[in-house]
């Protein structure tokens, strides 16, 4: 069991309220898609969950207990939007992944673990000495996923992880997310502004607007029968609805 729950969470920056009294549950072993426009507070909510943004009031609970945001043991891990900024350009990808492995392993054990993680995200373990600059955007995002998995997390927060990628690479990363979720039984908070992407990976959807959750529920239900006007606006804005695709 690893259910992530936000109870009446509020985050303020100065006088602006970025997240306003949000209550949200990511069911154990499921993917919750969080959608909304930029500035709606969805990234702030994610950062608050992993301790990168200060929570003013409310609680964030993992299986009923507060999420630890200090010390080495971090059951919540995050994957960031821009794979060009989320990997240290001076470190090899092996070092970046190894850094996130909890301490207590020997050097050889760490290396084996790094290789296992890279294989898990379909990267050739022989590349662990490479610098991020030698990798494509999609490959970097795989490394970032491997690093998040290194901490043996129960929950992964994925913040717009495909929006900085070319569409041709986006598909491969989304496939990987689905595969990892299924194989490892991860709970994932998947943030995106692209409804088609969320529809593809998430079993549940929450719609955020001006810092509040305006609608949430099972993906199929919310997307086919939206209750809130804003959800309908979002749905109408998805490009490419007018045409159907050719079969391959």
């Amino acid at each position: 069991m690893s259910e992530l729950r936000f109870d009446n969470v509020t985050v303020r920056y100065g006088s602006t309220t970025a997240v306003d009294d949000v209550s949200l549950t990511v069911p154990s072993g499921q993917v919750l898609g969080l959608v909304g426009e930029s500035g709606s507070g969805k990234s702030t909510l994610a950062r608050a969950a992993v301790g990168l943004a200060p929570v003013d009031s409310g609680t964030i609970l993992l299986d009923g207990k507060p999420v630890p945001t200090r010390g080495r043991r971090r059951p919540l891990q995050m994957v960031f939007q821009d794979p060009y900024s989320s990997l240290d350009p001076r470190m090899s990808i092996g070092e970046s992944v190894a850094e996130a492995i909890p301490p207590g392993l020997s050097r050889a054990e760490r290396r084996t673990e790094v290789e296992r993680l890279l294989e898990l995200v379909h990267l050739d373990p022989d590349r662990l000495a490479m610098r991020p600059a030698a990798l494509s955007g999609g490959q970097r995002q795989r490394v970032a996923l491997a690093r998040a998995l290194a901490g043996k997390p129960e929950v992964i927060v994925a913040d717009e992880i495909t929006s900085a990628l070319d569409v041709s690479i986006q598909g491969a990363v989304l496939n990987l997310v689905r595969e990892l979720q299924r194989e490892l039984g991860l709970t994932i908070l998947f943030i995106s502004h692209n409804l088609a992407v969320v529809r593809y990976v998430a079993s549940h959807v929450a719609v955020m607007h001006h810092g509040r959750i305006v609608e949430q529920g099972p993906t199929g239900h919310v997307l086919s029968d939206p209750d809130h006007d804003y959800t309908r606006t979002l749905l109408a804005a998805v490009p490419g609805q007018s045409q159907s695709k050719g079969s391959l």
């Binding site: 379909h122 041709s168 598909g171 496939n175 529809r199 593809y200």
Partner: protein
Amino acid sequence: MRQLKSVLRTPLGLTATLLTIGVLVLAVIAPILWTDDADAIDTSNILAPPSAEHWAGTDNLGRDIFYRTLVATRLSVELALAATAIAVVVGLLLGTAAFLLGRRGGRLVNAGINIAVAFPGILLALFFAVIFGVGATGAVLAIGMAGAPAFGRLTQTLVAGIAARDFVAAAQVAGVGRLRILLRHVLPNIGEPLAVNATISAGGALLAFAGLSFLGLGVQQPTYDWGRLLFDGISSIYVNPWAALVPGFAVIIAGLAFNLFGESVAKALGVGVVGGIPKLPSVAAHLDDVEPVEDTRHSTDDVVLDVRNLRVTFPGVRGPIRPVRGISFAVRRGEAIGVVGESGSGKSLTALAISRLVDDSGRVEADRLELLGDDLRAADSKAQRQMLGTSLAMVFQDPMTSFNPTQRMGRQLAESSRHHQGLSKKDALERAVDRLRSVRITEPEKRAHQYPHEFSGGMRQRAMIGMGLMGTPALIVADEPTTALDVTVQQQVLDLLASIREADDVALILISHDVTVVGEVCDRVLVMYAGRIVEDLRAADLAAAQHPYTRALMAAVPDMHTDLDQPLAVIPGRPVDPSDVPEGCAYAARCPLASARCRTEDPALVADAAGHRVACWHAGEPLPLEIEDRELEEAEAS
């Protein structure tokens, strides 16, 4: 290392490096070789002018000033380096304290640094000289401490820049401690600018010492540095001016050496690896073997833009690189053309070439490149800039960087009209307000007086379009205009472009990596791969695309009807590197249909009767249905 070598390639860098090495070598060997000569007292020859025996004359004890200046190199350089070391260490501690202490403690430290920076350095030095006492030690501490705030401020700024990056946040989330993050992630990434600045400030410290010793607050008799020699020499300047001038020159040369060396290194690091790239030859003959693609369908009467065999070439380390390799297309009045492709396919460069915005290192060539009948290949002239300024509108991806943040929006829009159409200030501003209204910005009068940061992303993008409409454009070139925007705002911008096109019969070139966006807005779609057009088809025919690349792009994007039980289609491998374009069809390595022919012969772009152009030996052949996802992933990793 390569960057440091490039320092030596410029005359200034070479001189500075040699000078710096010379000064350092002198500092080591001069006291060993000439101490006896420098300390030899010759009472019969006091305050002598320069002679063959004493090149710079002698001082009031008859000691040789030239030798003394040489010997003083070591002490002068040592003191300067010691002071710099103090400045760097204290500065580093101050500058990183904010990062380590967290928000509140950090604010306190920063306030302290800000106050200290505000004091003039020499004042601080005098203050510390009083505290630490007159003498070399006092001077070192004084100059070191006086340099520390500036260094602290620099460190603090650099640290803040790195600390905001996601990889630091990622390490925090992974539970890595602050000190460890500082040592592993932050310091290595700011090492270069810090080292460069330390070198420059060593030069500054040298001058500061000379100043302090000259004031009598630095080195005391009987030891001597350049400043002390200067101080002694100045008292006899009317008897022997060289007694002051020689140590003065030494200070200047050494100070310049350190400063210029630091700056040359900074420049080399900042410019990156471009240092050794040869200039483009006037004609890159071996690249010009591209066969011009004949396209005779263009009827000339309503053509807005006519491009034939457009090539863009840049100089590269291993010979010229050609990211756009001969593309031909025409845009008619009121027509909307979409250009799609992955990053690096050459689509943005094509747009820049059309609007003459390719930077100077690149060369744009074409058999024909005409906007409204005007040859865009002609030399840059006022008339041509005017024509481009009024009949072509360009919309960029990031609306934040395309506006000047310090000017009001109205004025920025008005500027182009005043420039190109000669409108008065008032008329131009009126037109700007009108144009803002036309791009559906509410309360345009009020908005015209606001600054870019007061606009939202979507509003800025609309204002950018409005700026393009200040003239009477016949063509709008929009390069990923919605990539930085939300879906809802994206829709507004696309709608706006569509309505402008309809209302004024303006042609549109929309560049995007998202084939669904392009398919929704455009009449025709050009698919680019590795600097070529591989398919040119009507947007309505996208579902019946012939080229395997177009079909793969279409399949890769999930939409609201994607089968949830199947993995998404992916394109294996990586896009072609423009500096290493393979023989034959550039897409062959990633193509499931590729045959031996594809790897040796490049297919030409051939049109069918309906005007559908495609460059593929296997156009329209059925794709092998199920290629295991896993296999594709492996192909990408190889």
